[in-house]
């Protein structure tokens, strides 16, 4: 492996994931967390937002308002929609030229596709699906990730290579509010890719479900117990004005979109109310919902581990319980009336 002079590498970069002008919320979460990490970095280093896309001036300005000291903008139609090969080449060129110390990327499907590709040619150390970040006494990034289903948190370091890269699970960190008075520099960089070099073409792209479960106050989550029938969960979610989410099992079965998956390889949520419907309670799932205020479990197996991790539980057929619960809340115009 090539020897790397780690002292040549400076700054924290945050990849701002953007699709047709819509920014993935995790990007702003990472800017906020990176701003905290900057406290542990030398004063001459900057927090840099990396914006790759087409017509992204608004995104660049928002990145300043959300905490970036500098925004590197690669603006060209070649970057819309996202493709791994042109994004990867652009990133590689920028890393070679600017030598970032740390690069943080959201753990979305796009972020993982991108990170896995760009870490290799830059010989970066890349840690996946992190839920904790820190900087140690020697200035190395400490990337904490749940391992072995979430029973333990492993701290991964990359001492001899740069950049130190990590994908971070959406929903873990709080974004900063926009502050239009915040100052920073927007710098347009040379576009390093040409269309005739690309090896992929996006023929169709359809994104209809833009719900963000990381932001929800109330969540009703479906597990393997729903056996393919999402309707009781959807009805209960509607009655509670909640978002529908899911365990990995329900996502892998194809019953629900991956974007609504809670826990390992999905998202971290912290609602006021989390209702787990037909979810057994595997640790991989629990570590994504442990920060919920109140957890309710509905399951027909009295020995399901979820009951140990719930405030209130009921053992019963989920289809019956959900519908009865819907009726209980719908009968009461004011939910407080169910107390009467």
């Amino acid at each position: 492996m090539p020897e790397v002079d780690v002292d040549e590498y400076k700054d924290i970069w945050v990849f701002i994931e953007e699709h047709a002008g819509e920014v993935a919320p995790v990007s702003w979460e990472l800017l906020a967390e990176a701003k905290q990490l900057m406290d542990e970095k030398p004063d001459d280093e900057e927090l840099v937002a990396l914006v790759i896309g087409s017509d992204v001036d608004d995104v660049a300005e928002e990145a300043i308002a959300r905490g970036a000291d500098r925004v590197l903008v690669a603006d060209d139609p070649i970057f819309e929609p996202y493709r791994a090969d042109p994004y990867g080449k652009q990133f590689r060129e920028l890393v070679a030229e600017r030598k970032p110390d740390i690069a943080l990327i959201g753990g979305t499907t796009t972020g993982r596709d991108f990170a896995g590709r760009v870490a290799v040619p830059t010989h970066a150390g890349l840690t996946a699906d992190c839920t904790q970040l820190g900087i140690d006494d020697e200035g190395h990034l400490e990337a904490g990730r749940p391992a072995f289903g979430g029973n333990v948190v492993a701290t991964i370091k990359c001492e001899a290579h740069r950049p130190q890269m990590a994908t971070i699970r959406p929903g873990v960190f709080e974004p900063l509010d926009r502050d239009e008075n915040r100052e920073g520099e927007i710098e347009h960089v040379d576009v390093a890719v040409e269309e005739d070099e690309t090896v992929t073409e996006v023929l169709e792209r359809e994104v209809g479900d833009t719900a963000d479960i990381t932001d929800a106050d109330r969540i009703v989550a479906a597990g393997g117990g729903i056996e393919g029938d999402l309707s009781p969960v959807e009805r209960l979610a509607e009655a509670l004005d909640a978002e529908v989410a899911a365990s990995r099992k329900a996502v892998d079965e194809g019953w629900i979109q991956h974007a609504r998956q809670v826990g390992q390889t999905g998202k971290t949520v912290r609602p006021e109310l989390y209702v787990a419907v037909g979810i057994s309670g595997a640790v991989q799932h629990l570590e994504g919902m442990n920060d919920s205020d109140v957890v309710v479990a509905i399951n027909n197996d009295p020995n399901a581990p979820i009951f140990d991790h719930a405030d209130y539980g009921i053992v019963g057929d989920l289809f019956e319980v959900c519908d009865e619960l819907v009726a209980a809340f719908e009968d009461a115009d004011d939910p407080q009336e169910v107390l009467a």
């Binding site: 993982r112 896995g116 870490a119 150390g125 948190v153 209809g208 920060d291 405030d311 407080q336």
Partner: protein, 262 residues
């Protein structure tokens, strides 16, 4: 156009995660007693490859990087319909993180002169999903990750994929050669046929390849070539919960209402 696609599939033997336990006193993991199984997402990778074989007559070669005790996963893949299998094994690979792992698998993909390399979305024992894009990067090939469905277009030397993106789907055409990571659960893996199973278990022997045969410099792989190291392990703190099990839906509704969260 490329005649007769060669498709390679990379698979891995992993401990059955249901069997991995944690010693509550020491916090150490007990993986030794866990049964060794085929990484579950690799089932979907094998199925996607075998569908390409059915559709365009591709030759499918499966390989795994691991110790000689990993050969049962190759036998299984051959039983399912793979034409040939290779065990990629060398002490030099020990301790590899995703960087040298993807390098090794990239060399293996080139060794078989593949047009398409198909992998599972991730392995359940490390759960990074970084290896397939890493292989594509090492080879400088196109990559298609989180793939739900493949549509081969040999007349154009292209593979078209429907892939999962946040909140929706996209259809992407990739020029060959290409690396594919199939979404976990996104197809229905076939069962093994009886004759094929007998063949795999009694007659079939996998090819064995080491670092030298693949043309890999031992200094490029293994622990010393891995940019990341595990700095420590902490057990996650359990969250205290009320754990009240109520008897009726009315009681449950009342408890939720009382918390003031609806």
């Amino acid at each position: 156009m490329t005649d007769n696609w060669t498709v390679v599939v990379g698979i891995k033997q992993v401990p059955d995660e249901d069997d991995v336990t944690i010693d509550p006193d020491t916090g150490t993991l007990n993986r030794a007693e866990a049964a060794a199984i085929l990484n579950p997402p690799d089932r979907n990778a094998l199925e996607a490859a075998l569908q390409l074989k059915d559709e365009v007559g591709a030759e499918v070669i499966v390989f795994t990087m691991g110790p000689p005790t990993a050969t049962p996963v190759l036998d299984l893949a051959v039983a399912l319909g793979c034409d040939d299998a290779a065990l990629i094994s060398d002490m030099a690979f020990a301790g590899s993180d995703t960087w040298p792992t993807s390098l090794t698998l990239a060399y293996a993909t080139e060794y078989f002169d593949a047009d398409v390399g198909i992998f599972g979305e991730e392995t359940t024992d490390s759960s990074t999903g970084q290896v397939p894009p890493g292989i594509a990067a090492h080879l400088d090939w196109a990559q298609l990750t989180y793939v739900e469905d493949l549509d081969p277009r040999p007349e154009d030397d292209q593979l078209v994929a429907t892939r999962d993106v946040e909140g929706g789907h996209e259809v992407v055409a990739a020029d060959l050669p290409v690396i594919v990571a199939v979404g976990y659960g996104d197809n229905e893996p076939r069962p093994a046929g009886l004759h094929r199973k007998l063949y795999a278990e009694t007659e079939f022997e996998p090819i064995e390849l080491d670092a030298e045969e693949l043309g890999i410099d031992p200094d490029e792989v293994g622990l010393d070539a891995s940019p990341t190291q595990v700095g420590g392990m902490d057990t996650a703190d359990p969250v205290e919960r009320e754990q009240k099990v109520v008897d009726s839906v009315e009681d449950l509704a009342a408890a939720i209402a009382e918390e003031g969260v609806v």
